[in-house]
Symmetry: C2
Subunit: 288 residues, 2 copies
């Protein structure tokens, strides 16, 4: 914790120099160093239960649904008939909770490198973990996701990379070698959705991910924006590589039950999230 | 300035308790108390030239275009033939710069209560003021906007309220009496667009503005979201009252020159900006 002021959590990082967000702490809950990461949990006065990893907020009770719904549903509704999903990272089970809303899904494998994230989530974030833990379709493993993927060729319909920023243990899933494995692990018509950073904050990372996905062979690479107040600069995105054509419009209808369960996602939001501000559109659609 | 850390500007306010954004200062430029407000100007390492009023950031070089383009163009492209525009607030001339891109506009009146904002903007934010100052269609007056409006009945096609938050001198333009005057000052088919706060941060203010606009007689009240990193929680909105039907789709095409001048706005962004996350849509469309 880089304390600016006692009693506040301040998110300040070399990844976003010159800018910081602070949250007043109601109660400190846990602070543990795992083999891989520094994990802090506190109750924020404004945003409820909050988990931070290596000094960057990962999820708060107030707005986690925006990120988790969009990371799961944009690609799941873009696939005509998804059966098998792999989640890399996402040990807090927030993405899994959303994936499991889809009755057509038969299997969700989840690989997080750090069992400590899951252990703490089970204890302090039951709103994320309760549903996955009870669902027999869900399997969580604690190992290197990229290595696990090598054993599954031509197997998954959807892969979701729910990672921290590209420093620390997530470095290895922001490179070409990772996406080559993703490409092989997907079945024909498969789609990868990765945490795609913010174009306001990290335009170079976004463009680099776009280039990598194109290089490994995805014919379609797209970006969908998510508004999420507690990430730096208030937004992040999904970067999507697809073997199945554009994901800009859903290909399956939602059931009423699914629609009623959403706090952020809708068919309209799906389509709107792909509209980029002009300055970003020009860069994303260029060949640079 | 509520300093959390020396050399940083920290935006901390009773209007958004428990959360704060901080920007590392490259250079302090000016700090003046006008008759109405406390105005600070500094160069931020991350966001360039920045103006703050009463402790809240109003505009930075990095992202001012997002706010100014959307506040002007959403309503201007929603009106079939706008001729006369009134801007209340907006003494930095950022909204005026965008309004004046429309060749069909014959007259832009701008009322800001505080000439100090304009004086400092002319000196330090020429990217906002240069174009309006040279355009004979543009007239700026320093007086109470609500009072000025009383002299103009059935006169404007578009009124834009570009205000600070509803504390300080802007309190008077967040109430019913203000919108009654707006309603009278508009011609048939007229549209009002006000800085509409963020539904993540100030849902009650957003719903209150919606109620006021409905009460004074606007048959259509809508909300368009703007992503803007340097406002608290990363977004704000336009709240729009229309005598001319829905503003969700533009009614006039852009010229190529207009389209090329945009860094944020496009026809697609216009339409996408009206899509609300489910939790907000349910509240905004309810009768509460």
């Amino acid at each position: 914790m880089n304390v600016f002021k006692k009693g506040w959590y301040t998110e300040i990082s070399d990844d976003w120099p010159g800018v910081a967000q602070s949250y007043e702490i109601e109660k400190e809950i846990a602070h543990e160093k795992s083999k891989f990461q520094d994990i802090q949990i506190f109750k924020s006065k404004r945003c409820g239960m909050t988990m931070s990893i290596d000094g960057a907020i990962q999820s708060t009770e107030m707005d986690e649904f925006a990120y988790h719904e969009m990371m799961a549903h944009i690609v799941l509704y873009s696939h005509p008939n998804p059966k098998r999903v792999l989640i890399i990272g996402g040990g807090d089970m927030g993405v899994a909770r959303e994936v499991l809303k889809h009755k057509c899904i038969e299997l969700v494998d989840n690989c997080d490198i750090d069992d400590k994230v899951t252990e703490l989530s089970k204890k302090h974030f039951p709103h994320l973990t309760d549903i996955p833990l009870k669902d027999p379709r869900y399997h969580i493993m604690f190992q290197d996701g990229a290595k696990f993927m090598e054993s599954k060729v031509n197997y998954y319909d959807i892969i979701i990379t729910d990672s921290t920023d590209p420093t620390g243990p997530a470095v290895s899933i922001f490179n070409k070698s990772y996406y080559e494995k993703v490409f092989k692990a997907l079945r024909p018509g498969g789609i990868i959705c990765s945490q795609g950073e913010s174009y306001w904050l990290d335009l170079d990372i976004v463009l680099n991910l776009r280039n990598i996905m194109k290089e490994v062979g995805f014919p379609v690479v797209e970006y969908s924006t998510i508004q999420i107040p507690t990430y730096p600069f208030g937004s992040i995105g999904c970067i999507i590589g697809s073997n199945a054509g554009s994901c800009k419009k859903p290909r399956r209808a939602m059931t009423k039950e699914e629609a009623d369960s959403m706090k952020y996602y809708s068919k309209e939001m799906h389509e709107a999230s792909f509209v980029m501000p002009q300055f970003f559109k020009k860069r994303f659609e260029s060949e640079e």
